[in-house]
């Protein structure tokens, strides 16, 4: 009968996920009180992916869709990882170039004002 009435799941499930998303949001917000570093970044990413996963899988019903649709939608964004990787390398390079050519040259002591 499921095809006749579409995505139909018990309300209890939605309330559980709703509560879980609130909890994860609270954890997410709490990371702001940590010092900047790998622990903080790791937790930000963990809570972010968990929240995104629950929203897509349960609220957007992706969990119950057929694989043909799941992979057609979730597969293509994987190429974005290439873009992100390239732009991270590019950004590092640009910063290095700026530091090399656009910042004040470090002048050794005593060799300053003569020229």
């Amino acid at each position: 009968m499921s095809e006749a009435i579409g995505q139909q799941h018990p309300l209890k499930l939605y309330f559980w996920i709703w509560g879980l998303l609130f909890l994860l949001s609270a954890f997410s917000y709490a990371t702001d009180f940590l010092d900047h570093g790998f622990v903080r970044w790791g937790l930000i990413l963990t809570f972010m992916f968990l929240k995104a996963g629950f929203i897509i899988a349960i609220f957007m019903h992706m969990k119950w869709e057929r694989l043909a649709l799941i992979w057609a939608i979730l597969g293509p964004p994987a190429v974005l990882l290439v873009l992100i990787g390239l732009m991270a390398v590019e950004g590092d390079y640009t910063e290095g170039t700026r530091l090399n050519f656009f910042s004040d040259p470090i002048v050794p002591e005593g060799h300053g004002a003569e020229h």
Binding site: S2, S25, T31, M60, L67, W71
Partner: protein, 228 residues
């Protein structure tokens, strides 16, 4: 369940890679969902690329500037009763959107139960919570522009790219929320009027997909722009 290799029955959820082959090579529609739902998913896929490009652009300018990046924790702090609470408004906006996602999920459920009064009411509540989000964003922008002097081309706290990326990313997201409020309101009124009694209530799920996506984008903006 074990009908491997044959065209699967409509809507059943058998696992396995074989279903991808059968669905894509069956000489008929590939996605066994209403066409509106398939098209909404494809639209959301394209929107994913747009938002990822924005966030990647933001990452690139933040990585490449030798000037210190303004600390979002301080920039977006609010003073409550003399105490400065970091990211307070952004936190409230996050909970606001999560709340609206829950009411939207319930609306979809009541839609499929053909309880159109409850479905429409929950959609209107969702739209109202969305409108509150846009209101808070307007407040945030005003504070940043008027009080803190942040402009797309510069700001007093640090790297000048901060304003450009902030206004572009949150602006585009806010536009999506605003469009969603209008979309939700229109469909809710049509649901209430009984326009979908014959067609069925997939439309509520389709609106829901859009709305959940807007919340999803916020999850990433919150993590990368406000918390990082």
């Amino acid at each position: 369940m074990a009908q491997t290799g044959t065209t699967a029955a409509h809507g059943s959820i058998e696992p396995g890679w074989q279903t991808i082959v059968t669905d894509w090579s069956a000489d008929k529609q590939t996605f066994q969902v209403p066409w509106g739902k398939a098209m909404m998913w494809i639209f959301l896929l394209s929107d994913t690329f747009i938002f990822t490009c924005f966030l990647t652009g933001y990452m690139n300018v933040r990585v490449s500037t030798p000037v210190p990046w303004p600390n979002p924790s301080e920039v977006f702090a609010l003073t409550v009763g003399g105490v400065s609470v970091p990211l307070l408004l952004i936190g409230i906006m996050t909970f606001d959107l999560i709340t609206s996602s829950g009411t939207m999920a319930l609306a979809v459920n009541y839609g499929y139960r053909r309880d159109r009064g409850r479905a429409a009411a929950l959609m209107l509540i969702t739209a109202a919570i969305g409108a509150i989000f846009v209101g808070m964003q307007a407040f945030e922008w005003t504070k940043l522009i008027v009080e803190e002097g942040i402009r797309p081309w510069g700001n007093p706290m640090g790297a000048s790219q901060f304003g450009a990326t902030f206004f572009m990313i949150t602006g585009f997201h806010g536009l999506h929320v605003s469009a969603g409020v209008v979309y939700l309101t229109i469909v809710a009124m049509k649901v209430l009027r009984g326009d979908y009694e014959k067609k069925g209530y997939e439309i509520v799920e389709i609106v829901g997909l859009y709305w959940h996506f807007v919340d999803l984008v916020w999850v990433f903006i919150f993590a990368f722009f406000y918390l990082w």
